[in-house]
Protein backbone atom coordinates (compact mmCIF):
# COMPACT_ATOMS: atom_id res chain seq x y z
CA UNK A 1 0.00 0.00 0.00
CA UNK A 2 1.44 3.32 -1.08
CA UNK A 3 0.23 6.78 -2.05
CA UNK A 4 2.64 6.90 -4.98
CA UNK A 5 0.81 8.36 -7.97
CA UNK A 6 -2.61 8.12 -6.30
CA UNK A 7 -3.13 11.87 -5.78
CA UNK A 8 -2.21 15.09 -7.58
CA UNK A 9 -1.81 18.70 -6.50
CA UNK A 10 -4.12 20.54 -8.89
CA UNK A 11 -4.09 24.05 -7.44
CA UNK A 12 -2.06 26.30 -5.15
CA UNK A 13 -2.36 29.87 -3.94
CA UNK A 14 -0.07 32.04 -1.83
CA UNK A 15 -1.67 35.19 -0.48
CA UNK A 16 0.19 38.13 -2.06
CA UNK A 17 0.10 40.37 1.04
CA UNK A 18 2.56 40.37 3.96
CA UNK A 19 0.80 42.86 6.24
CA UNK A 20 -2.96 42.43 6.55
CA UNK A 21 -4.31 44.60 9.39
CA UNK A 22 -7.91 44.81 8.20
CA UNK A 23 -8.95 41.21 7.48
CA UNK A 24 -9.52 38.23 9.76
CA UNK A 25 -7.40 35.10 9.44
CA UNK A 26 -10.59 33.26 8.48
CA UNK A 27 -11.18 35.65 5.61
CA UNK A 28 -7.57 35.28 4.47
CA UNK A 29 -8.06 31.50 4.47
CA UNK A 30 -11.24 31.92 2.41
CA UNK A 31 -9.37 34.08 -0.12
CA UNK A 32 -6.57 31.51 -0.32
CA UNK A 33 -9.06 28.66 -0.72
CA UNK A 34 -10.80 30.51 -3.54
CA UNK A 35 -7.45 31.22 -5.17
CA UNK A 36 -6.25 27.61 -5.04
CA UNK A 37 -9.59 26.25 -6.31
CA UNK A 38 -9.57 28.76 -9.18
CA UNK A 39 -6.00 27.76 -9.99
CA UNK A 40 -7.18 24.14 -10.24
CA UNK A 41 -10.34 25.01 -12.19
CA UNK A 42 -12.55 23.75 -9.36
CA UNK A 43 -15.15 25.33 -7.06
CA UNK A 44 -16.03 25.15 -3.36
CA UNK A 45 -18.88 22.76 -4.25
CA UNK A 46 -16.32 20.24 -5.52
CA UNK A 47 -14.52 20.03 -2.17
CA UNK A 48 -15.31 16.92 -0.11
CA UNK A 49 -12.18 16.75 2.05
CA UNK A 50 -10.78 19.55 4.22
CA UNK A 51 -7.44 19.86 5.98
CA UNK A 52 -6.35 22.69 8.28
CA UNK A 53 -4.47 23.26 11.52
CA UNK A 54 -6.12 23.67 14.91
CA UNK A 55 -5.18 27.28 15.60
CA UNK A 56 -8.77 28.51 15.46
CA UNK A 57 -11.85 27.06 17.14
CA UNK A 58 -12.24 23.31 17.45
CA UNK A 59 -9.79 22.02 14.88
CA UNK A 60 -11.38 22.22 11.44
CA UNK A 61 -14.97 22.60 12.66
CA UNK A 62 -15.11 26.39 12.72
CA UNK A 63 -13.41 26.87 9.34
CA UNK A 64 -15.56 24.18 7.69
CA UNK A 65 -18.59 26.16 8.88
CA UNK A 66 -17.07 29.48 7.76
CA UNK A 67 -16.37 28.12 4.28
CA UNK A 68 -19.69 26.26 4.09
CA UNK A 69 -18.00 23.04 3.02
CA UNK A 70 -19.92 19.77 2.64
CA UNK A 71 -17.45 17.11 3.67
CA UNK A 72 -16.90 13.40 3.75
CA UNK A 73 -13.41 13.74 5.23
CA UNK A 74 -11.84 16.11 7.79
CA UNK A 75 -8.32 16.27 9.28
CA UNK A 76 -6.97 19.00 11.55
CA UNK A 77 -3.64 17.44 12.44
CA UNK A 78 -1.46 20.17 13.91
CA UNK A 79 2.31 19.72 13.88
CA UNK A 80 3.11 23.43 13.92
CA UNK A 81 4.67 24.83 10.76
CA UNK A 82 5.00 21.39 9.19
CA UNK A 83 1.23 20.76 9.40
CA UNK A 84 0.45 21.49 5.76
CA UNK A 85 3.14 19.14 4.44
CA UNK A 86 1.55 16.50 6.67
CA UNK A 87 -1.84 17.46 5.25
CA UNK A 88 -0.78 16.77 1.66
CA UNK A 89 0.37 13.31 2.72
CA UNK A 90 -2.84 12.67 4.63
CA UNK A 91 -4.94 14.00 1.75
CA UNK A 92 -3.21 11.62 -0.63
CA UNK A 93 -3.92 8.74 1.79
CA UNK A 94 -7.58 9.72 2.10
CA UNK A 95 -7.95 10.00 -1.68
CA UNK A 96 -6.19 6.65 -2.21
CA UNK A 97 -8.68 5.09 0.25
CA UNK A 98 -11.69 6.66 -1.46
CA UNK A 99 -12.58 8.91 1.49
CA UNK A 100 -12.62 12.05 -0.68
CA UNK A 101 -11.74 13.16 -4.21
CA UNK A 102 -11.04 16.91 -3.88
CA UNK A 103 -9.10 17.85 -0.75
CA UNK A 104 -8.67 21.49 0.24
CA UNK A 105 -5.83 22.52 2.57
CA UNK A 106 -5.81 26.06 4.01
CA UNK A 107 -3.91 28.12 6.56
CA UNK A 108 -3.49 31.78 7.51
CA UNK A 109 -2.44 33.97 10.38
CA UNK A 110 -1.50 37.53 11.26
CA UNK A 111 1.47 37.48 13.64
CA UNK A 112 2.64 40.82 12.24
CA UNK A 113 -0.50 42.87 12.95
CA UNK A 114 -2.58 40.80 15.40
CA UNK A 115 -1.04 38.43 17.93
CA UNK A 116 -3.18 35.43 18.84
CA UNK A 117 -4.75 35.77 22.27
CA UNK A 118 -3.70 33.08 24.73
CA UNK A 119 -6.60 31.26 26.36
CA UNK A 120 -6.27 31.90 30.12
CA UNK A 121 -8.87 29.30 31.05
CA UNK A 122 -6.81 26.26 30.08
CA UNK A 123 -3.99 24.78 32.13
CA UNK A 124 -0.55 25.07 30.56
CA UNK A 125 0.85 22.07 28.70
CA UNK A 126 3.17 20.20 31.07
CA UNK A 127 6.41 20.84 29.18
CA UNK A 128 5.85 24.59 29.19
CA UNK A 129 5.84 24.61 33.00
CA UNK A 130 9.49 23.57 33.00
CA UNK A 131 10.57 25.41 29.86
CA UNK A 132 8.78 28.72 30.25
CA UNK A 133 10.77 30.03 33.20
CA UNK A 134 14.15 30.80 31.69
CA UNK A 135 13.59 33.66 29.30
CA UNK A 136 13.36 31.76 26.01
CA UNK A 137 12.41 34.63 23.74
CA UNK A 138 10.43 32.95 21.00
CA UNK A 139 11.89 30.18 18.88
CA UNK A 140 15.13 32.08 18.23
CA UNK A 141 16.52 31.22 21.67
CA UNK A 142 15.72 27.54 21.23
CA UNK A 143 17.11 27.25 17.70
CA UNK A 144 20.23 29.04 18.94
CA UNK A 145 20.73 26.21 21.44
CA UNK A 146 20.75 23.80 18.50
CA UNK A 147 23.14 25.97 16.50
CA UNK A 148 25.64 26.27 19.38
CA UNK A 149 25.78 22.51 19.81
CA UNK A 150 25.97 21.81 16.05
CA UNK A 151 28.94 24.17 15.81
CA UNK A 152 30.64 22.53 18.80
CA UNK A 153 30.10 19.01 17.54
CA UNK A 154 30.71 19.48 13.80
CA UNK A 155 32.69 22.69 13.41
CA UNK A 156 29.88 24.51 11.61
CA UNK A 157 30.54 28.26 11.39
CA UNK A 158 28.41 31.41 11.43
CA UNK A 159 29.66 32.21 7.91
CA UNK A 160 28.32 28.84 6.72
CA UNK A 161 24.93 29.55 8.30
CA UNK A 162 24.96 32.94 6.58
CA UNK A 163 25.32 31.28 3.16
CA UNK A 164 21.78 29.94 3.58
CA UNK A 165 20.38 33.44 4.04
CA UNK A 166 22.46 34.78 1.15
CA UNK A 167 21.03 32.15 -1.24
CA UNK A 168 17.47 32.89 -0.10
CA UNK A 169 18.00 36.62 -0.60
CA UNK A 170 19.40 36.12 -4.10
CA UNK A 171 16.13 34.34 -4.96
CA UNK A 172 13.86 36.84 -3.20
CA UNK A 173 15.06 39.71 -5.37
CA UNK A 174 13.04 38.22 -8.26
CA UNK A 175 9.85 37.78 -6.19
CA UNK A 176 7.81 41.00 -6.29
CA UNK A 177 5.76 39.88 -3.27
CA UNK A 178 8.75 38.99 -1.08
CA UNK A 179 8.89 40.79 2.27
CA UNK A 180 12.66 41.33 1.92
CA UNK A 181 13.89 41.71 -1.66
CA UNK A 182 17.38 43.11 -1.11
CA UNK A 183 20.23 40.63 -1.70
CA UNK A 184 22.60 40.38 1.27
CA UNK A 185 26.20 39.20 1.68
CA UNK A 186 27.73 36.85 4.25
CA UNK A 187 29.35 39.90 5.86
CA UNK A 188 25.99 41.67 6.17
CA UNK A 189 24.49 38.63 7.90
CA UNK A 190 27.41 38.45 10.34
CA UNK A 191 27.22 42.18 11.03
CA UNK A 192 23.48 42.20 11.67
CA UNK A 193 22.47 42.53 15.36
CA UNK A 194 22.97 39.46 17.52
CA UNK A 195 19.60 38.04 18.64
CA UNK A 196 20.69 34.96 20.56
CA UNK A 197 24.20 33.61 20.05
CA UNK A 198 25.13 32.40 17.50
CA UNK A 199 22.04 33.56 15.57
CA UNK A 200 21.99 37.08 14.12
CA UNK A 201 18.86 38.91 13.04
CA UNK A 202 19.49 37.85 9.44
CA UNK A 203 19.69 34.19 10.50
CA UNK A 204 16.00 34.48 11.42
CA UNK A 205 12.94 34.25 9.18
CA UNK A 206 10.59 37.14 8.56
CA UNK A 207 7.38 37.69 10.56
CA UNK A 208 4.52 38.16 8.10
CA UNK A 209 0.75 38.05 7.92
CA UNK A 210 -0.66 35.93 5.15
CA UNK A 211 -1.76 32.48 4.18
CA UNK A 212 -1.97 29.87 1.50
CA UNK A 213 -3.96 26.95 0.17
CA UNK A 214 -3.42 23.73 -1.76
CA UNK A 215 -5.90 21.51 -3.59
CA UNK A 216 -5.13 17.77 -3.79
CA UNK A 217 -7.27 15.65 -6.10
CA UNK A 218 -7.73 12.09 -7.29
CA UNK A 219 -6.14 10.95 -10.60
CA UNK A 220 -9.58 10.98 -12.23
CA UNK A 221 -10.23 14.60 -11.23
CA UNK A 222 -6.69 15.59 -12.27
CA UNK A 223 -7.23 14.13 -15.73
CA UNK A 224 -10.47 16.11 -16.11
CA UNK A 225 -8.77 19.47 -15.47
CA UNK A 226 -7.09 21.71 -18.03
CA UNK A 227 -4.39 22.83 -15.64
CA UNK A 228 -1.07 20.97 -15.27
CA UNK A 229 -1.03 19.15 -11.96
CA UNK A 230 1.78 17.76 -9.85
CA UNK A 231 2.01 14.13 -8.80
CA UNK A 232 2.39 13.15 -5.14
CA UNK A 233 5.12 10.49 -5.08
CA UNK A 234 5.98 9.99 -1.45
CA UNK A 235 5.46 11.29 2.05
CA UNK A 236 6.95 10.84 5.49
CA UNK A 237 6.18 12.32 8.88
CA UNK A 238 7.18 12.01 12.51
CA UNK A 239 7.33 13.77 15.84
CA UNK A 240 10.77 14.08 17.41
CA UNK A 241 10.66 15.07 21.08
CA UNK A 242 12.77 15.60 24.17
CA UNK A 243 12.75 11.86 24.94
CA UNK A 244 12.39 12.21 28.73
CA UNK A 245 15.50 14.38 28.94
CA UNK A 246 17.68 12.53 26.41
CA UNK A 247 17.28 15.22 23.74
CA UNK A 248 19.94 15.61 21.04
CA UNK A 249 19.54 19.01 19.36
CA UNK A 250 21.95 18.26 16.50
CA UNK A 251 19.43 16.38 14.38
CA UNK A 252 15.76 16.70 13.42
CA UNK A 253 12.79 14.46 12.70
CA UNK A 254 13.85 14.52 9.04
CA UNK A 255 15.95 11.43 9.81
CA UNK A 256 12.62 9.56 9.90
CA UNK A 257 10.39 11.55 7.50
CA UNK A 258 13.03 11.90 4.74
CA UNK A 259 13.92 8.23 4.21
CA UNK A 260 10.23 7.23 4.46
CA UNK A 261 9.29 9.73 1.74
CA UNK A 262 12.17 8.74 -0.56
CA UNK A 263 11.39 5.04 -0.13
CA UNK A 264 7.75 5.55 -1.05
CA UNK A 265 8.73 7.62 -4.09
CA UNK A 266 11.34 5.08 -5.15
CA UNK A 267 14.01 7.73 -5.63
CA UNK A 268 16.93 9.17 -3.63
CA UNK A 269 18.29 12.61 -2.70
CA UNK A 270 20.52 12.69 -5.80
CA UNK A 271 17.39 12.63 -8.02
CA UNK A 272 15.94 15.85 -6.54
CA UNK A 273 16.24 18.89 -8.85
CA UNK A 274 14.68 21.42 -6.46
CA UNK A 275 14.14 21.41 -2.68
CA UNK A 276 11.86 23.54 -0.52
CA UNK A 277 13.48 23.26 2.90
CA UNK A 278 11.83 24.79 5.96
CA UNK A 279 13.92 27.80 6.92
CA UNK A 280 12.65 29.27 10.16
CA UNK A 281 16.34 29.87 10.88
CA UNK A 282 19.51 29.19 8.93
CA UNK A 283 20.42 26.32 11.28
CA UNK A 284 17.08 24.63 10.46
CA UNK A 285 18.23 24.29 6.84
CA UNK A 286 21.71 22.99 7.73
CA UNK A 287 20.38 20.23 9.99
CA UNK A 288 17.55 19.33 7.58
CA UNK A 289 19.93 19.03 4.57
CA UNK A 290 22.00 16.53 6.55
CA UNK A 291 19.04 14.60 7.92
CA UNK A 292 17.34 14.36 4.51
CA UNK A 293 20.51 12.77 3.12
CA UNK A 294 21.71 15.56 0.83
CA UNK A 295 25.08 15.35 2.59
CA UNK A 296 26.82 13.46 5.36
CA UNK A 297 25.75 14.23 8.96
CA UNK A 298 27.69 17.22 10.21
CA UNK A 299 28.71 18.38 6.72
CA UNK A 300 25.74 20.69 6.12
CA UNK A 301 27.88 23.76 6.68
CA UNK A 302 30.34 22.71 3.98
CA UNK A 303 27.53 21.62 1.65
CA UNK A 304 26.01 25.10 1.37
CA UNK A 305 29.28 26.78 0.31
CA UNK A 306 30.02 27.90 -3.27
CA UNK A 307 26.42 28.79 -4.04
CA UNK A 308 25.20 25.20 -3.72
CA UNK A 309 21.67 26.34 -2.86
CA UNK A 310 21.45 29.10 -5.47
CA UNK A 311 19.09 28.60 -8.43
CA UNK A 312 19.12 27.76 -11.19
CA UNK A 313 22.53 26.11 -11.39
CA UNK A 314 23.57 25.30 -7.81
CA UNK A 315 23.98 21.67 -6.74
CA UNK A 316 20.63 21.84 -4.92
CA UNK A 317 18.56 24.94 -5.70
CA UNK A 318 16.35 25.66 -2.67
CA UNK A 319 13.55 28.05 -1.64
CA UNK A 320 13.44 29.93 -4.92
CA UNK A 321 10.61 32.17 -3.66
CA UNK A 322 13.02 33.57 -1.07
CA UNK A 323 11.76 31.16 1.59
CA UNK A 324 10.82 32.05 5.12
CA UNK A 325 14.10 33.90 5.48
CA UNK A 326 13.12 36.55 2.91
CA UNK A 327 9.75 35.98 1.26
CA UNK A 328 7.00 34.86 3.63
CA UNK A 329 6.38 32.98 6.88
CA UNK A 330 2.63 33.41 7.29
CA UNK A 331 1.17 32.68 10.72
CA UNK A 332 4.75 31.87 11.86
CA UNK A 333 4.31 28.63 9.91
CA UNK A 334 6.28 28.05 6.73
CA UNK A 335 5.15 24.61 5.56
CA UNK A 336 2.44 25.86 3.19
CA UNK A 337 4.73 28.12 1.18
CA UNK A 338 7.24 25.25 0.88
CA UNK A 339 4.65 23.15 -0.95
CA UNK A 340 3.53 26.04 -3.14
CA UNK A 341 7.02 26.90 -4.43
CA UNK A 342 7.77 23.22 -5.15
CA UNK A 343 4.58 23.08 -7.24
CA UNK A 344 5.59 26.27 -9.09
CA UNK A 345 8.98 24.73 -9.93
CA UNK A 346 7.45 21.47 -11.21
CA UNK A 347 4.96 23.42 -13.34
CA UNK A 348 7.77 25.59 -14.69
CA UNK A 349 6.11 28.64 -13.16
CA UNK A 350 8.77 29.86 -10.74
CA UNK A 351 10.16 33.35 -11.35
CA UNK A 352 12.13 32.90 -14.58
CA UNK A 353 15.52 33.90 -13.15
CA UNK A 354 15.29 31.05 -10.61
CA UNK A 355 13.34 28.42 -12.55
CA UNK A 356 15.34 25.18 -12.40
CA UNK A 357 15.68 23.69 -15.91
CA UNK A 358 14.07 20.27 -16.45
CA UNK A 359 12.69 20.28 -12.94
CA UNK A 360 10.96 16.89 -12.85
CA UNK A 361 11.40 15.88 -9.20
CA UNK A 362 11.14 18.13 -6.15
CA UNK A 363 11.09 17.84 -2.38
CA UNK A 364 9.16 19.93 0.15
CA UNK A 365 10.17 19.60 3.77
CA UNK A 366 8.41 21.08 6.80
CA UNK A 367 9.57 21.58 10.38
CA UNK A 368 7.18 22.57 13.15
CA UNK A 369 7.61 23.37 16.81
CA UNK A 370 11.20 23.61 17.98
CA UNK A 371 14.29 21.61 17.04
CA UNK A 372 15.54 22.24 20.59
CA UNK A 373 12.54 20.63 22.33
CA UNK A 374 9.79 18.87 20.34
CA UNK A 375 8.98 19.13 16.69
CA UNK A 376 6.98 17.77 13.79
CA UNK A 377 8.85 16.85 10.61
CA UNK A 378 7.23 16.08 7.30
CA UNK A 379 8.68 15.42 3.86
CA UNK A 380 6.93 15.32 0.50
CA UNK A 381 8.37 14.07 -2.77
CA UNK A 382 6.58 15.56 -5.77
CA UNK A 383 6.96 15.00 -9.49
CA UNK A 384 5.72 16.39 -12.76
CA UNK A 385 2.28 15.15 -13.81
CA UNK A 386 3.72 12.35 -15.94
CA UNK A 387 6.53 11.41 -13.49
Amino acid sequence: MSIRGKAFIAGVYEHPLREIPDRSSSQIQAECAAGALADAGLSFADVDGYFTDSKYGIGGVSMTDYLGLKLTHIDSTDTGGSSYVVHVGHAAEAIACGKCTVALITMAGRPRTAALRADPTTEPVPDSVFEGLWGLSGPATAYALAATRHMYQYGTTSAQLAEVKVAASLHAQYNPNAFLRQPVTVEEVLESPMVSTPLHRLDCCVVTDGGGAVVVVSPEVARSLDRTSVKVLGHGETIKHADAGRIDVTYTGAVISGPRAFEEAGIGPADIKYASIYDSFTITVIESLEDLGFCEKGKGGEFVLDGALVAPHGRLPFNTDGGGLCNNHPSNRGGMTKIIEAVRQLRGEANKEVQVPNCDLALAHGTGGSIATRMGSSTLILGQENA
Binding site: V129, F130, W134, G135, S137, R149, S196
Partner: protein
Amino acid sequence: MRNQLPNPVPYQSPDNREFWTATAESRLLLRRCDDCSAFIWYPRPFCPICGSLRTSWAQASGLGSVYTFTVVHRSTVPGYRDAVPYVVAYVELDEGPRVLTNIIGVAPEDVRIGMPVSVEFTDTGEGSALYRFTPR
Protein backbone atom coordinates in the same frame (compact mmCIF):
# COMPACT_ATOMS: atom_id res chain seq x y z
CA MET B 1 28.07 38.48 39.77
CA ARG B 2 24.59 39.47 40.90
CA ASN B 3 21.64 37.51 39.54
CA GLN B 4 19.40 40.09 37.93
CA LEU B 5 17.07 37.60 36.32
CA PRO B 6 13.38 37.62 37.24
CA ASN B 7 11.93 34.76 39.25
CA PRO B 8 8.63 33.84 37.60
CA VAL B 9 6.35 31.61 39.67
CA PRO B 10 5.99 28.11 38.18
CA TYR B 11 2.54 26.61 37.58
CA GLN B 12 1.91 23.78 40.03
CA SER B 13 -0.13 20.72 39.11
CA PRO B 14 -0.67 17.39 40.89
CA ASP B 15 2.11 16.01 38.67
CA ASN B 16 4.76 18.43 39.85
CA ARG B 17 3.68 19.96 43.19
CA GLU B 18 6.16 17.90 45.23
CA PHE B 19 8.96 18.90 42.86
CA TRP B 20 8.32 22.60 43.41
CA THR B 21 7.88 22.21 47.18
CA ALA B 22 11.32 20.57 47.28
CA THR B 23 12.89 23.44 45.38
CA ALA B 24 11.79 25.78 48.18
CA GLU B 25 13.98 23.61 50.44
CA SER B 26 16.87 23.80 47.94
CA ARG B 27 16.42 20.21 46.84
CA LEU B 28 16.32 19.14 43.18
CA LEU B 29 14.14 16.09 42.60
CA LEU B 30 13.98 13.83 39.57
CA ARG B 31 11.20 11.44 38.71
CA ARG B 32 12.52 7.90 38.38
CA CYS B 33 10.90 4.75 37.00
CA ASP B 34 10.40 1.97 39.56
CA ASP B 35 10.55 -0.62 36.81
CA CYS B 36 13.34 0.37 34.40
CA SER B 37 15.17 2.83 36.73
CA ALA B 38 15.24 5.54 34.02
CA PHE B 39 15.40 9.14 35.14
CA ILE B 40 12.50 11.09 33.60
CA TRP B 41 12.61 14.76 32.63
CA TYR B 42 10.40 16.80 32.75
CA PRO B 43 8.89 15.18 35.86
CA ARG B 44 5.70 13.18 35.26
CA PRO B 45 4.09 10.16 36.95
CA PHE B 46 4.65 8.02 33.86
CA CYS B 47 7.78 6.54 32.32
CA PRO B 48 8.03 7.40 28.60
CA ILE B 49 11.01 5.06 28.31
CA CYS B 50 9.25 1.79 29.27
CA GLY B 51 5.59 2.79 29.64
CA SER B 52 5.36 2.10 33.37
CA LEU B 53 2.94 3.99 35.63
CA ARG B 54 5.08 3.17 38.67
CA THR B 55 7.44 6.08 39.35
CA SER B 56 8.93 7.77 42.41
CA TRP B 57 10.84 10.89 43.34
CA ALA B 58 14.62 10.68 43.71
CA GLN B 59 17.00 13.36 44.89
CA ALA B 60 19.40 14.63 42.23
CA SER B 61 23.03 15.47 42.96
CA GLY B 62 22.54 18.97 41.57
CA LEU B 63 25.73 18.51 39.54
CA GLY B 64 26.07 18.55 35.78
CA SER B 65 27.73 20.16 32.79
CA VAL B 66 26.67 22.53 30.02
CA TYR B 67 25.34 20.55 26.99
CA THR B 68 24.59 23.66 24.95
CA PHE B 69 23.78 27.33 25.57
CA THR B 70 22.91 30.65 24.00
CA VAL B 71 23.53 34.22 25.11
CA VAL B 72 20.24 36.05 24.62
CA HIS B 73 20.78 39.61 23.40
CA ARG B 74 17.22 40.47 22.32
CA SER B 75 14.35 39.35 24.51
CA THR B 76 10.63 40.00 24.51
CA VAL B 77 9.98 38.04 27.72
CA PRO B 78 8.60 40.22 30.53
CA GLY B 79 11.18 40.58 33.29
CA TYR B 80 13.92 39.18 31.06
CA ARG B 81 13.71 41.97 28.50
CA ASP B 82 15.85 44.28 30.61
CA ALA B 83 18.17 41.53 31.84
CA VAL B 84 20.00 40.97 28.52
CA PRO B 85 22.51 39.57 27.92
CA TYR B 86 21.65 36.40 29.84
CA VAL B 87 22.37 32.73 29.29
CA VAL B 88 19.79 30.04 28.47
CA ALA B 89 21.26 26.53 28.50
CA TYR B 90 20.66 22.83 28.54
CA VAL B 91 22.53 21.39 31.50
CA GLU B 92 23.18 17.65 31.39
CA LEU B 93 22.72 16.43 34.94
CA ASP B 94 25.12 13.80 36.24
CA GLU B 95 22.05 11.51 36.41
CA GLY B 96 21.59 11.92 32.63
CA PRO B 97 18.64 14.21 31.84
CA ARG B 98 19.27 17.45 29.93
CA VAL B 99 17.28 20.28 31.51
CA LEU B 100 16.56 23.79 30.28
CA THR B 101 17.78 26.44 32.68
CA ASN B 102 19.88 29.58 33.07
CA ILE B 103 23.61 29.75 33.76
CA ILE B 104 24.29 32.43 36.38
CA GLY B 105 27.23 33.69 38.39
CA VAL B 106 29.52 33.95 35.35
CA ALA B 107 29.99 36.46 32.55
CA PRO B 108 27.89 35.24 29.58
CA GLU B 109 30.93 35.35 27.27
CA ASP B 110 32.79 32.92 29.55
CA VAL B 111 30.20 30.12 29.35
CA ARG B 112 31.42 27.04 27.44
CA ILE B 113 29.97 23.68 26.44
CA GLY B 114 31.23 21.06 28.88
CA MET B 115 31.66 23.55 31.74
CA PRO B 116 30.98 21.80 35.10
CA VAL B 117 28.09 23.43 36.96
CA SER B 118 26.08 22.97 40.14
CA VAL B 119 22.52 23.91 40.99
CA GLU B 120 21.61 27.13 42.78
CA PHE B 121 18.07 27.99 43.87
CA THR B 122 16.43 31.39 43.64
CA ASP B 123 13.28 31.85 45.71
CA THR B 124 10.10 32.92 43.95
CA GLY B 125 8.47 33.99 47.24
CA GLU B 126 5.51 31.70 46.46
CA GLY B 127 6.63 28.42 48.04
CA SER B 128 8.94 27.47 45.19
CA ALA B 129 12.38 28.26 43.84
CA LEU B 130 13.94 28.23 40.37
CA TYR B 131 16.80 25.80 39.70
CA ARG B 132 19.59 27.63 37.95
CA PHE B 133 23.20 26.57 37.53
CA THR B 134 26.54 28.19 38.24
CA PRO B 135 30.11 27.10 37.41
CA ARG B 136 31.81 24.96 40.08
